[in-house]
């Protein structure tokens, strides 16, 4: 077979997609979405218990690190349309946190996307997923904002449709404070940078792109 065995899209697509080439049901070559540990075991077999537990532990860590952060549970629900929880605020959250409060709100992790086995045997990439209503379609003009993506799935019991999203540190919600990644995901590296004297030097912008007027970059 000369075609890709499976295709997974998490950022580009309107909904996170994991597709298998017809006729290839290889567990190692597939991306799967699992809502919980039991589903993971069901998919990969009991022998994979340790792997499943590790995946969920990794996913949980990644979730805490990368979930979109909101000032309050209400703001979080409003933006994501899903359930939210509180987590301790970090230094990087100081723009978000009301004085005297020590926590921020993040959506509840609704499952994991577990990637196929990587070619070099270095394991699988796990991506936390959230449930909620669809985000507004990504506007290409909102450049810095990482587009949030979603995927459909059947709930096992009711058959009703719900949607999974994932957010790599950004969430295309409707809350006004979500505009611009800069306000949301300042890394510790930036915090250090602000403290350094180098920051007093001027930053110039717009030095790339001028040669493109009237042209197309693609070829």
């Amino acid at each position: 077979m000369r075609r890709s065995r499976s295709i997974r899209l998490t950022l580009l697509a309107a909904s996170a997609i994991a597709l298998q080439a017809c006729g290839s049901e290889d567990v190692d070559a597939a991306d799967v979405v699992v809502p919980d540990l039991a589903a993971c075991l069901e998919r990969f077999g009991v022998a994979a218990q340790a792997d499943c537990q590790r995946s969920f532990a990794e996913g949980q860590t990644r979730h805490i690190q990368t979930a979109p952060r909101f000032a309050s549970v209400e703001a979080c629900r409003e933006a994501t349309g899903g359930a939210c929880e509180v987590t301790p605020a970090r230094a990087a959250d100081k723009a978000l946190v009301a004085p005297g409060l020590a926590s921020v709100a993040i959506p509840v992790m609704a499952g994991l996307m577990i990637g196929r086995m990587l070619e070099n045997g270095s394991g699988r990439v796990t991506v936390p997923l959230y449930s909620g209503r669809p985000p507004s379609p990504c506007d290409p003009s909102q450049a810095v904002q990482d587009c949030t993506t979603a995927s459909r799935g059947q709930t096992p019991n009711t058959g009703a449709m719900w949607r999974y999203y994932h957010a790599y540190g950004a969430y295309a919600g409707s809350a006004p404070e979500r505009r611009g990644a800069a306000a949301f995901t300042p890394s510790t590296a930036i915090a250090a940078d602000i403290a350094s004297p180098r920051n007093t030097a001027t930053i110039t912008r717009g030095g790339f792109g001028a040669s493109a007027r009237g042209f197309s970059s693609s070829s």
Binding site: R3, I7, I17, S218
Partner: protein, 390 residues
């Protein structure tokens, strides 16, 4: 190879939008005009034999290897030719040489190939080695199309898988630092491609950021993103020949930032390389005779094209000494360099000429995508059609 008229999937436009290909109709009306309308067109597809696919695979790998030979020749043996044939400022040719000598890794490229189905000859028309698009159309759109319409057939298309592998190989080189993906946010096609490459990088475990190319900042010694985070690795969907004319271009040569595609790719995406290749490998079965300048090649069947032209613009097609077709465009100012290449035969069916875009990832062939047009010169308006093989 055969061209087969087939019915589009009833929900084809929704299917494409779902995978991020929102520009499938790109301001073109369905079923109108000489080009047949629509950017993505699944009212027809091309069918290859397994042997033809093998031949395309071999030719692509061979051509890429010869292209690397040509870059090595220019950098290590004939730097004078490098400066003369490519008209580069000294700082940029130095930067190119440095990037080649230290082995700056590359990601991908797309060759445009002419497959003469009468003689079986496969010829290189040009190599989009720097800012290739059509990746979403190739890797995803036609893959999904095959699943939906001909699930038993195969397709020469491992682009998605190979790119993911390539990013996985590159990931450890970043030492945990993020890669920034820069493109024009107001161009849906280019922004979608940048997002796709970022998607793949992220799946390979690379932390990524997106940035509008206009918003990149500079504060010596660093390029900065909008959050003032340092850009250590930059993927740019913006060609080197424009980058070096821009105010910030020179700063990239300070080497504070690794760039995909690397500077040495600028030599391959410049059509002056076609004349260099012919000089180094005259008579090579996959090359067309090519010489610098606007001249008439023996026999009078040739194509004159600007070295830094894009998307089929400013090209003159000459048959028996007579100019048979020309395209207009913005790439032929007075100082523009040209290359003249012998005319290749494109396969034609039902009045449609097909051009094969053949992908290279790392050093392997990664699949093909077809464009077809009723005109002799294919342009950015020519439609993109899927393929399969049996």
């Amino acid at each position: 190879m055969e061209r087969i008229v087939s019915s589009p999937r009833p929900n084809w436009s929704a299917k494409l939008e779902e995978i991020g290909l929102t520009y499938h109709s790109a301001d073109q009306e369905p079923l109108s005009g000489a080009e047949g309308g629509l950017w993505w067109h699944e009212g027809a597809h091309w069918r290859f034999s397994s042997a033809e696919v093998d031949a395309l695979d071999d030719a692509t790998v061979e051509l890429h290897a010869r292209c690397l030979d040509a870059v090595d020749h220019l950098v290590t043996r004939e730097p004078g030719l490098l400066r003369e044939a490519f008209h580069l400022p000294d700082w940029f040719s130095d930067y190119i040489c440095r990037s080649w000598r230290r082995g700056d890794p590359a990601l991908m490229g797309r060759m445009d190939l002419a497959f003469d189905d009468v003689t079986g000859a496969i010829k290189l028309l040009e190599y989009n080695a720097d800012t290739p698009t059509l990746a979403i159309e190739t890797a995803i759109a036609q893959w999904v199309w095959l699943q939906d319409t001909h699930s038993g057939a195969d397709q020469f298309n491992s682009l998605h898988e190979k790119l993911l592998e390539r990013f996985t190989t590159l990931a450890p080189l970043l030492s945990g630092q993020p890669m920034h993906f820069a493109a024009f946010a107001d161009s849906p096609e280019e922004w979608a491609h940048s997002t796709y490459f970022r998607d793949l990088a992220q799946q390979a475990g690379i932390a990524t950021r997106s940035i509008d190319i206009n918003r990149i900042g500079w504060r010596r010694p660093d390029f900065l993103d909008e959050a003032d985070e340092t850009i250590r690795f930059l993927h740019k969907l913006y060609p080197w020949e424009w980058t070096i004319r821009d105010h910030f271009g020179l700063y990239l040569a300070e080497d504070g930032c690794g760039v995909l595609e690397p500077p040495w790719k600028a030599l391959l995406s410049d059509k002056a390389i076609l004349a260099v290749l012919w000089r180094l490998f005259p008579g090579h079965p996959n090359l067309l005779e090519a010489v610098p300048g606007r001249v008439f090649l023996a026999g009078g069947n040739c194509v004159q094209k600007p070295c830094l032209g894009r998307e089929g613009a400013n090209i003159a097609l000459i048959r028996a000494g007579l100019t048979m077709a020309t395209t207009d465009g913005p790439y032929a100012p007075e100082e523009a360099r040209f290359v003249t290449q012998a005319l290749a035969r494109l396969p034609q069916r039902d009045g449609w000429n097909a051009l094969i875009g053949s992908w290279v990832v790392s050093e392997a062939a990664a699949g093909i995508i077809l464009r077809e047009s009723q005109a002799a010169i294919l342009r950015d308006t020519s439609r993109v059609v899927p393929h399969l093989f049996l």
